[in-house]
């Protein structure tokens, strides 16, 4: 029997039992749809996190004090103040793998302009901070070295702060605000950055010269962190090694002592987050894969029932000259049709689910051709594999036994 006839017979057999065929396919539809949707959502959030994090500069190197924490409890505050401005100077002078270095001193407090006020974080940094963190001046200018030296009360505002104090899109350059009751001249505003991959508002900040923030606002002799740029993304690891060496020397750490600071690169961080989202994607995919398998077992179940139910038909087909392999092919085509049809519908539904999920979440889901191809291949294999066993059973029947079957 040729394939076009087999195909017609299979289509007719499925149409005769529309409801049952649909219910069988439902297993596959749900399985494939969830595989496609889960992988799309996983891939989508991975891509968006990666993109967000790259937006912060892929060759950024961060240095923080090494908080000794056990079970979330800080063991003394002594080691939160290990980083000093002298470390910044040392890195700036000695590290050949770093192009820019800036301290970071954070102070949070109330900011007031006439009747408006807002709570935000003031970052005390050097001019180099902007290129390191991929920040850009929108209006006005960045402070100069004289203003840093003189601890001038000048600042630049992030767009959220501008919006909170002056309204959206206003240009407050030249106005004076009060930060923790000290008057600060606004010399510039920063470009919009949007939310970070972790859902943080990156525009809710004020930057000011580190000297001003350290002395006038925070009143501390240490710094909260150091931000630097490696000469290139590839040199990140080398930069970490060199910076560690310099800091261990300036901190006078013994050979055996652990680092009293933590140092990591953005590219390292991206890798780490990516591997987490990878695991998440695999996990989601695996769960969806199980439902696909259950769908496959559904097909096998139906095919078994179908073969048993149609044993007399098989007997008749054999009695008029159908060979074992004709019968085998007939049932294989039928189950393959079921799974491929289910697979196609599943892909469509999966795509729609991913779209829907995308409109509810921030990340745009990414339906990869690979996952579609994978789902389709899996479907095909399920069809062949789970159709094969019952079909084989039917094909091996003796014609007379099949005819007499009750």
């Amino acid at each position: 029997m040729n394939y076009s006839n087999l195909f017609r017979i299979a289509v007719r057999a499925l149409f005769r039992n529309k409801m049952r065929a649909f219910l069988t396919m439902l297993g596959i539809i749900i399985g494939v749809a969830s595989v496609i949707a889960m992988l799309a959502i996983g891939e989508g959030s991975k891509a968006s996190i990666r993109e967000e994090m790259s937006g912060m500069g892929t060759n950024m190197v961060m240095i923080m004090p090494n908080f000794q924490r056990r079970g979330g409890v800080s063991l003394g505050t002594s080691n939160s103040n290990v980083l000093k401005l002298s470390d910044v100077t040392a890195l700036r002078n000695e590290a050949v793998t770093l192009t820019a270095v800036s301290p970071e001193i954070r102070a949070s407090g109330q900011v007031i302009y006439s009747n408006e006020n807002t709570q935000t974080t003031i970052y005390g940094v050097s001019e180099e901070y902007l290129p390191i963190k991929k920040l850009e001046v929108k209006a006005g200018r960045i402070f100069n070295s004289a203003e840093v030296r003189n601890m001038s009360k000048v600042c630049l505002l992030g767009q959220t702060v501008v919006e909170n104090l002056f309204g959206k899109g206003a240009d407050p350059v030249g106005l004076t605000i009060r930060i923790k009751n000290l008057p600060f001249l606004i010399i510039g505003t920063l470009e919009d950055k949007g939310e970070s991959g972790m859902g943080q508002d990156q525009d809710d900040l004020i930057i000011a010269p580190y000297s001003t923030v350290q002395r006038r606002l925070a009143a501390i002799d240490y710094i909260n962190g150091i931000y630097a740029s490696a000469v290139s993304e590839e040199k990140s690891a080398a930069a970490i090694a060199e910076a560690s060496e310099i800091l261990r020397r300036t901190h006078k750490l013994k050979e055996s002592a652990e680092n009293d600071f933590r140092i990591m690169s953005q590219s390292e961080l991206i890798e780490r987050v990516s591997s987490i989202t990878n695991i998440m994607t695999i996990l989601l995919g695996a769960i969806a894969g199980i439902s696909l398998l259950v769908g496959g077992i559904g097909i096998m179940n139906i095919m078994l029932v179908s073969v048993t139910e149609r044993t007399r038909e098989i007997g008749l087909r054999m009695s008029v000259g159908g060979r074992g392999r004709d019968i085998l092919k007939q049932f294989l085509v039928e189950s393959m049709l079921l799974s491929i049809l289910g697979g196609l519908l599943g892909i469509i539904f999966g795509y729609l689910i991913a779209k829907l999920a995308g409109s509810l979440m921030d990340s745009e889901p990414l339906v990869k051709t690979q996952s579609v191809v994978l789902a389709f291949i899996v479907c095909f294999i399920i069809g062949v594999f789970f159709g094969w066993y019952p079909a084989r059973k039917a094909a091996n029947l003796n014609p007379i036994d099949a005819l007499r079957y009750e």
């Binding site: 054999m318 009695s319 008029v320 000259g321 159908g322 014609p399």
Partner: protein, 251 residues
């Protein structure tokens, strides 16, 4: 004498059910020539169906040889016997065995689907011709459940004819039918036989057996008696004698 279509030698068939062995056939020698019209008779359980199934290559004997149209069936594998059924045999069952929800035409076409040499066009032409031969030209697109028992059996006979077989085998073809319809089927068989078709059928009704030219009587898995039918019935006459069909009023 005509060609020998069927020749069996010491045909035996045993069924093993647990410890018990049932000897369904205990050594049957049978010879049937081309153009014969044979009725196999016998009590229930005497092995008639077993014999016919073996003749129809639906089953294999435990012992003994069977030559169909000059070829030894015992040496054939499954695929070869399937081909044999497809090309040389037509089988008619007591319970018609039509595919449900499939038109009469497609039911009749079925054997030709399993013959790769026959293209769609020829398949259809031959099925139409076979249905015309059994007098169902106007029922081609009916489903089995839209046909009477007699009509369904005619479709089954058309199906057995469509591959132009050397032999038609029928196991109690009139078993489910009333007298008049049975005679109708026998009329059809006699007509086919008069055109040279070899037919072997099983029946336990002596009346139905008298339409054949030869009777073979089975008893306990053996041939008890063979005889030419002396006072043969002719279905066309018998139907005339039954008188016109009574149209019952169900209003």
């Amino acid at each position: 004498m005509n060609n020998i279509v069927i020749e069996t030698n010491n045909l035996r068939k045993d069924y093993h059910i647990g410890e018990v062995t049932v000897h369904a056939l205990r050594g049957v020698d049978m010879k049937i020539h081309e153009g014969e019209f044979v009725a196999i008779m016998g009590a229930s359980g005497s092995g008639k169906s077993t014999m016919l199934n073996i003749l129809g290559c639906l089953d294999k004997p435990s012992v003994g040889s069977y030559c169909l149209d000059g070829v030894d069936v015992n040496t054939m594998n499954r695929d070869e016997t399937a081909r044999l059924r497809n090309r040389k045999l037509g089988f008619v069952f007591q319970s018609y065995n039509l595919l449900a929800r499939t038109t009469a035409l497609e039911n009749v076409e079925l054997p030709l689907f399993y013959n790769g040499k026959i293209k769609a066009r020829e398949r259809k032409e031959r099925a139409v011709k076979a249905l015309e031969d059994v007098g169902l030209a106007d029922r081609m697109h009916h489903m089995p459940n839209q046909l009477s028992g007699g009509q369904q059996q005619r479709v089954a006979i058309a199906r057995s004819l469509v591959n132009d077989p050397v032999l038609i085998l029928a196991d109690e073809p009139t078993g489910n039918l009333d007298t008049r319809t049975s005679f109708g089927i026998m009329e059809l068989f006699q007509e086919l036989n008069s055109k040279g078709r070899t037919i072997v059928y099983v029946t336990h009704e002596p009346d139905i057996a008298r339409f054949a030219t030869r009777n073979v009587i089975f008893r306990d898995g053996k041939i008890q008696k063979e005889s030419q039918v002396a006072d043969r019935y002719f279905a066309t006459e018998m139907l005339k004698n039954l008188g016109p069909e009574i149209e019952e009023d169900f209003d």
